[in-house]
């Protein structure tokens, strides 16, 4: 449902975006709607596959899963999948912005865990403290990431790798080397944020959907979104056109830190405790979801709605693996890794085909 919102918004073109964005290469997927006459059929097909491949795969996977398992299309199972997807989806939302600028953020897993623990600890002083504390800390770490990458021109992967290590260290320091678990008071407003339901669906799911709509609007309609695509498309060209490259980059890493922290806080509210061991490997899941959703790792091209589809696809696959039962979590890792490799290979080939033809 969110997918339609996004493509609807972008289908009308980009009014009020003076020149800056339209020059970024590969920036608007909907260029395909009014394809120049010379575009070959193969080119159009590969572009379509890149854009909607994840959605098609998701539909196929859901149909196959519901035919194979009676337990798949039940309300409980769907609701469970939706809530557990919500946290990853919020992380993937921030990651989408980062990847569209051509960067990568490996610190999100640690920030997710740190955000959860800080929120759980802060919740005893009220929901405002719970949310503001993780906002401040995770936002600050994201800001430092962004400043080092944008102003000091350090490689994103190494900066965020260090941040991953550092944030995990802070987390251990805060929790007495991981032995202390902070519980959230079940009657507090913060706990209801994670626990209550609206129309039978958990509140975290609604919050996530709202954030995705907001993110899609910002990316597609706002000037900031134009800058994000421009920086990812060609940094030098963006700078020459007057886009604030450093500020945009700093902003996306800050945003990613904030998203990861918020996802952690929501997760803590849902679990009513700040669990220290969460978030391991989450950076990979988030990157996979974004890439599966059609966003190019080389930057300059991608969609917010795709990341939501990517998260859903990952969760459906995990759920199917769980349903099979005899397969343990080790196989889950093998399948996830192979799947990511497959998607990236397909993406590279499709992208190359488009460029060459």
């Amino acid at each position: 449902m969110n997918g339609t919102a996004t493509s609807g918004a972008s289908g009308t073109g980009l009014p009020g975006a003076p020149g800056a964005g339209s020059a970024a290469p590969g920036q608007d997927p909907d260029v395909l709607d009014d394809e120049p006459a010379g575009a070959s059929r193969g080119e159009r097909l590969s572009a379509l596959a890149q854009q909607h491949g994840a959605l098609v795969t998701l539909v196929v996977a859901v149909i196959a899963a519901s035919l194979s398992f009676d337990t798949f299309l039940t309300g409980d199972n769907l609701e469970n999948m939706a809530v557990s997807s919500a946290f990853l989806a919020v992380v993937a939302l921030g990651m989408t912005f980062v990847i569209i600028t051509g960067g990568i953020d490996l610190s999100v897993g640690s920030l997710f865990a740190l955000g959860g623990v800080l929120a759980a600890w802060g919740s005893r002083y009220g929901t405002a403290v719970a949310l503001l504390l993780r906002l401040a800390v995770c936002g600050l770490i994201g800001l430092v990431n962004g400043l080092l990458i944008a102003r000091s021109r350090l490689a994103p992967f190494i900066v965020t790798l260090a941040a991953m290590l550092g944030a995990r260290g802070i987390l251990l320091a805060v929790t007495d080397e991981g032995t202390e678990t902070y519980l959230v008071d079940k009657s507090s407003f913060f706990a209801t944020l994670g626990q209550s339901k609206l129309l039978g669906v958990g509140l975290p799911v609604w919050i996530t959907l709202a954030l995705f709509v907001l993110g899609a609007v910002v990316l597609r309609r706002g000037r900031f979104g134009q800058y994000v695509y421009a920086v990812g498309g060609n940094e030098d060209a963006a700078a020459l056109m007057g886009a604030p490259v450093a500020r945009t980059k700093t902003a996306v890493y800050t945003l990613s830190g904030l998203c990861a922290g918020l996802a952690g806080a929501l997760n803590a509210a849902w679990l009513v405790s700040g669990v220290t061991i969460l978030g391991n490997g989450m950076e990979l899941e988030a990157i996979s979801a974004v890439v599966i959703g059609g966003t190019l790792l080389t930057g300059g091209f991608g969609f917010i709605s795709g990341s939501l589809v990517g998260v859903a696809l990952l969760k459906v696959i995990q759920n199917v693996i769980n349903q099979i039962g005899s397969l343990d979590s080790a196989y889950q890792q093998v399948v996830s890794g192979a799947f990511l490799a497959l998607v990236v290979v397909a993406q590279t080939w499709l992208g190359r085909r488009r460029r060459v033809l």
Partner: protein, 320 residues
């Protein structure tokens, strides 16, 4: 030596930074050694040196492969999982004899290297992503093969892990020999020169007619094999195969050793001496913090700060 060189120079900031990048890691090791000699009990004992050296050996061996990958303007995030895969294979095949088991483990590492190298060289996938996928899948396969910790009670493995020649542990000898070998390969062979040329500029290397794809695949195979060797040695030292935790965060330690040692992330240059010193620096830093009763969390934060500082110092010398 560092001091002399510094004094001869005028206040030329760029040259100072260059010196800092080239020799800073040695200065760092020297400072840590002095601090420990002054402030840590029993630091200057043969026993302690042995312990530290044995602990640093697997990290160093992994870092050697990582240095090659980074020199080719890539990176290999799968090394930790390859260590886990190697330990699983080792345990499974130990029944057929020690050398066959080691061979199978090393071949496993090479296969992961071929997979990563092919994705990078033939398909054109970015090294971070290709090796990230292998990192997840690799640990998964390791756990499928060997779901939980298993004791290794092979006498050959035991002597490999704790034996020595004239007081120098096998592990340290093997690590030193591999470091010399890799340094020789980088400096004196055609392959080494091609690798550096590719790291400097892949398009230029391709235009010059270098076998770019073949060299890249060999680079990742080397990295996989070295990581597998490190996995075998770590298993020998621990007397157990633990695919769940062996090698976790190893990619991070290896990258740190390489970067702190003065190898730029932008490729085109490999410093093996610096990598050795970088691995020693991390080990000393960790040991110092632990010996002075600082909690492990501080080690992680300190390591993060050291990475950032090293990359920051190297920043001025990025490719133009």
């Amino acid at each position: 030596m560092t001091d002399l060189a510094l004094r001869r120079l005028p206040a030329d900031r760029e040259r100072l930074l260059r010196l800092l990048q080239d020799y800073g890691v040695y200065a760092g090791v020297a400072v840590l050694l002095l601090v420990n000699i002054a402030a840590t009990d029993n630091f200057l004992s043969a026993e302690n040196f042995r312990t530290q050296a044995v602990q640093v050996a697997p990290v160093l061996i992994v870092a050697l492969g990582m240095a090659l990958a980074i020199g080719s303007e890539g990176v290999d995030l799968s090394v930790g999982s390859v260590m886990a895969l190697a330990t699983s294979l080792l345990s499974l095949y130990l029944g057929y004899g020690l050398w066959i088991a080691i061979l199978v483990a090393v071949v496993g590492g090479a296969v992961v290297g071929i997979a990563g190298g092919s994705l990078i060289a033939f398909v054109g996938v970015q090294p971070i992503v290709a090796t990230l996928a292998l990192m997840v899948a690799g640990r998964g396969i390791a756990l499928v093969l060997l779901p939980q910790l298993k004791d290794v009670r092979d006498p050959g493995m035991a002597s490999l892990g704790s034996g020595d020649v004239l007081g120098v542990p096998y592990l340290v000898l093997i690590a030193a020999a591999l470091a010399l070998l890799v340094a020789f390969v980088v400096r004196r062979t055609t392959f080494g020169r091609q690798l550096l040329a590719i790291g400097d500029s892949r398009p230029a290397a391709k235009l010059a007619g270098l076998p770019v794809r073949r060299v890249l695949i060999v680079v990742y195979v080397c990295s996989g094999v070295l990581a597998a060797v490190a996995g075998v040695l770590a298993t020998a030292r621990l007397h157990a195969s633990d695919p769940t935790s062996l090698g976790t965060l190893m990619e991070l330690s290896a990258i740190t050793a390489v970067v702190v040692g003065g190898t730029p992330l932008s490729g085109g240059r490999v410093r093996i001496g610096g990598t050795v010193a970088g691995a020693v620096l991390i080990q000393l830093l960790t040991a110092t913090l632990i010996k002075h009763d600082l909690p492990p969390s501080w080690t992680q934060i300190a390591q993060a700060v050291v990475i950032i500082l090293a990359v920051y110092a190297a920043r001025e010398r990025g490719k133009r």
